[in-house]
Symmetry: C2
Subunit: 132 residues, 2 copies
DNA sequence: CCTTGACATTGGTGCGGCTATAGGGTCTAC
DNA sequence: GTAGACCCTATAGCCGCACCAATGTCAAGG
């Protein structure tokens, strides 16, 4: 399996895969005679896990650690760590969503002021008024 | 006014302000005898606008442009451009929030599987099951 | 055989918006 | 006189790739 096919299968890009390899996250695959990376099923599986974890938006470093644990057959530990990571992530997500919603409110409010009022002489007060 | 005080007033950092200056976004302020940056009220006001716009999460370049327009007394134009920027931003925000909520759902679902099931042999299917 | 076009390779820089650090100088208070 | 809080410049680092150039390699069609 070549890098392009693999990337497409997993919903990532050749560049990303090479980047993982460069950064030591992924072990270098076999090369075929022409020098192309040739991935076997084990490589692919490992990468699948990594990509899966990244799609959960875990930091690359953590995704790397977990996928390597998993590759070592220590999936029970992965499961535990993953649960804790998920919890943290969800807390973070909740916070982030709240922030974004608050920002949206402020934008809506400011928009309203810009529409109804005359153009403000200054924008100094942006985001300070009326939105605690 | 020295850089530290100004930064604190505006809820930013000295380093960030110096960065704006370095990148040509902010004109360099007067220096006092000891070489410290000395900001007057005009400087401060301009920066206040910039920071305000950044707090609305506009891209720095755009915030810079608008704050400079504003400093030139062309606030009417700012108002128009800002309205359009706000609209765009809100669209983007809505999308982002949806994404984050979807991610949260997937995390919750995966967490459930990790709790109830035995540890999975592989994590291959992460994020692929049951979440269309 | 030759061309065409789609892949691949290495090695590098660029992005945004700062933050952090190193290695100094300067002011104020005790 | 010295401790601590502030300031200066200059540089490196962060994240996770995306993108670029210059070059090599392959399969299919004429």
């Amino acid at each position: 399996m070549r890098i392009g096919q693999l990337a497409e299968q997993l919903g990532t890009t050749p560049n990303a895969i090479r980047y993982y390899e460069r950064s030591g996250i992924l072990s270098a695959p076999r090369r075929s005679a022409n020098g192309y990376r040739a991935y076997d099923e084990r490589d692919a599986e490992r990468l699948r896990v990594l990509v899966g974890l990244r799609q959960l938006d875990l930091p690359l470093a953590q995704a790397a650690q977990l996928s390597s644990l998993c590759a070592d057959g220590r999936c029970a530990e992965v499961s535990e760590e993953l649960r804790s990571a998920i919890t943290d992530k969800r807390v973070e997500l909740a916070k982030r969503i709240t922030e974004l919603r608050y920002l949206d409110q402020r934008l809506a409010h400011l928009d309203g002021r810009l529409v109804t009022g005359e153009p403000p002489k200054t924008l100094i007060t942006i985001g300070k008024e009326d939105c605690p």
